[in-house]
Symmetry: C2
Subunit: 393 residues, 2 copies
């Protein structure tokens, strides 16, 4: 492997807290729990850790705290080790972007063991302030200021996708039903129960055509992973999973500036690069966690990731193709929909699920003989996307 290829990077361990409205937990205790779980799972000691990355979308507004890298390294008991701690923010892609920075730190040769955490504590903030803060992931000056909200822009995408690609109201609902089927088997999920098609279709309208049960609810939670170099992975008794690629891409910030709102260009670009770097094709993917902030977003993700043809994403869930026992299991954790969506944590909770699947440790949710897994995390209305591909070792 040449210098320019960089070193290999592996996930040595992962940890996820219970997601939900966690009144007894704070930002600090949540990230502490997830980090500790990941470190235990990896079988490393605190002194092995070379640096920390923390993904969080809006600690400044949700808990009045910036500088959360410093907070986390202290909470972890590692401040006296003087290791760097860096906070990454990319709206609800913060977790995956943080993962990629940890990946780059190891590839650069400046670190051998990196802990990457993601966290959001937001349910004890008033509803209107939550909505306004989430809209800060959109273009504040040209979208949010004029009243655009997160569900609103996704409703526009859904309308156009239905008009151009024949996607139906029932296809959207099938995504929610399918993800709750998987999520009912995930004890960490905020909403670990099944729902029916009828319930989705009768749930209150949020932004036409999206109803309440089309929307992933924002909750509290944290997730963390331990990354390591080839040398550390080779000598570990944990079950490492190899990161075959981690690619990030951008799109025009405001929806109005995009040529096509039925597709995320950033997802397509990140996927193309990730497949190329990993040397795998969409058909090689055995299990995927994709960013279903809204049911329409999962349908677009399936198409943008090349898992299904454009316009075929809507039928995938309806026809059972993406269920746990389908040909292409998607969101086996329950996805953002059933697991809940703490913006900073989601990208790393996805990685934790893929790691469990590739280790064969996903219990009732296990996909048979999963060898290649993919995680897809989106920021805001798609201006940032990260696609990471993982391989069983």
């Amino acid at each position: 492997m040449s210098t320019h290829k960089g070193r290999g990077v592996h996930v040595l361990g992962a940890g996820v807290t219970k997601f939900g409205e966690l009144w007894e937990d704070s930002f600090r205790t949540l990230i502490g729990q997830a980090g500790l779980a990941a470190v235990k799972d990896a079988g490393i000691a605190g002194d092995d850790i070379d640096c920390l990355y923390v993904g969080s979308m809006s600690a400044g507004r949700f808990i009045g705290q910036e500088h959360v890298g410093a907070l986390v390294v202290d909470e972890a008991g590692l401040a006296d080790n003087r290791i760097p701690a860096t906070r990454i923010e990319a709206a609800d892609a913060s977790g995956a972007v943080a993962l990629r920075q940890g990946y780059l730190a190891i590839r650069s040769g400046e670190a051998d063991v990196v802990v990457v955490g993601g966290v959001e504590k937001m349910t004890d903030v008033m509803d209107q302030e939550q909505t306004n803060t989430l809209a800060a992931a959109l273009d504040q000056e040209w979208e949010a200021f004029y009243g655009a909200t997160f569900p609103g822009v996704h409703a526009l995408m859904a309308q156009e996708h239905m008009r151009r690609h024949g996607t139906t109201r029932e296809m959207l609902a099938a995504v929610a039903v399918k993800n709750h089927e998987a999520g009912a088997r995930n004890k960490k999920a905020a909403y670990p129960f099944t729902i029916t098609m009828d319930q989705v279709l009768r749930s209150p309208m949020v932004a036409d055509p999206l109803r309440m049960l089309d929307c992933a609810a924002n909750v509290d939670g944290a997730a963390a992973v331990v990354l390591c170099s080839d040398e550390i992975a080779a000598s570990s008794s944990a079950k490492p999973v190899r990161i075959l690629a981690s690619a990030q891409a951008s799109d025009r910030f405001a929806l109005a500036d995009r040529a096509d709102i039925t597709s995320f260009a950033a997802t397509r670009a990140a996927a193309d690069l990730a497949y190329r770097k990993a040397g795998v094709a969409p058909a090689d993917v055995d299990v995927a966690e994709v960013h279903d902030a809204f049911t329409i977003a999962e349908i677009m993700a399936l198409e943008d990731l090349g898992l299904y043809e454009k316009g075929a994403g809507g039928k995938a869930a309806q026809n059972g193709l993406t269920s746990l026992s389908g040909e292409m299991p998607v969101n086996t954790s329950g996805g953002l929909k059933a697991r809940g969506h703490p913006p900073g944590a989601t990208g790393l909770a996805q990685v934790a699920e893929i790691v469990a699947q590739l280790r064969g440790a996903a219990g009732e949710r296990q996909v048979r003989d999963a060898r290649i897994g993919l995680a897809h995390n989106v920021g805001g209305s798609g201006a940032t996307a990260v696609v990471s591909i993982f391989g069983r070792e």
Copy 2:
């Protein structure tokens, strides 16, 4: 050079906006101006850029905008290139922490040309909200909630430094006077004029012993640099400057948890590592930009960086040692004090000054035959510190 040493990284260009209360400029236009200036200075084209990093402390609270990486890549006209854009937050060390991520991206081999920008737009926010937001760089739960402010915690440090090390009120004032002497020669500075010792000593009390003219004022502004690999630097007609090391370290978050508040342990750790990686000693440093958010902070920085013995930092400015014509010129740009302090931009404005000095392009502020330069950026009350060392090529 072995794989583990990674590739060399160079600064190919730098740009800084005017700092100040910039009512005619927005977050967008400021970072755009700085980025464009840096790209022009580097002599590169937009299509050469592999990724962006943006340091910003609290865009969420100051301008209601998170996800600012996506905003900046779009404003730069590079969204259609799909390149990754990542926002870094580490309070007022955001700029230098972003620089270090750009440095790691090149060392990892995943990028050859990286633009790193830092920006804050904050003066059009009410005074009390500014103070509260800046206090979000401290421990919100254990410090800010009980009324601690940014000047307040630095006043505690100053009191203890005076008690234990004999530092006097006049020594503090001499730092401000000295930095304004240099800043008066910097057209980009927010406060490009000289002040007298008497003016400092008679300025309104903020937090005993710190008076108004001991405090760096927070302003609007942006700065950016272009980083590149060895190959690009070798073939460039710009005057590249080599990054010999960039090291980041952490300390306990709350002041009450530190054994000694007259010193920043994170600065000491980052400096030790940076000197070691760069293979230089403090005595080799020809020019330094240090984080003088308050006059006491520059005195502590001189000591923690090993430029002066503990307890000798106070006399350095008073005796003219750290002035433009002194033995160890510090804050030749005017420092945070005279240049003004936009938290996200400061760390990169420091780098721009060091680059100008090592290129021999600092005009009236030029330090003769500067070969080794150091930049020192601190987050909050010292829980994060970054020390980067640069060498003339």
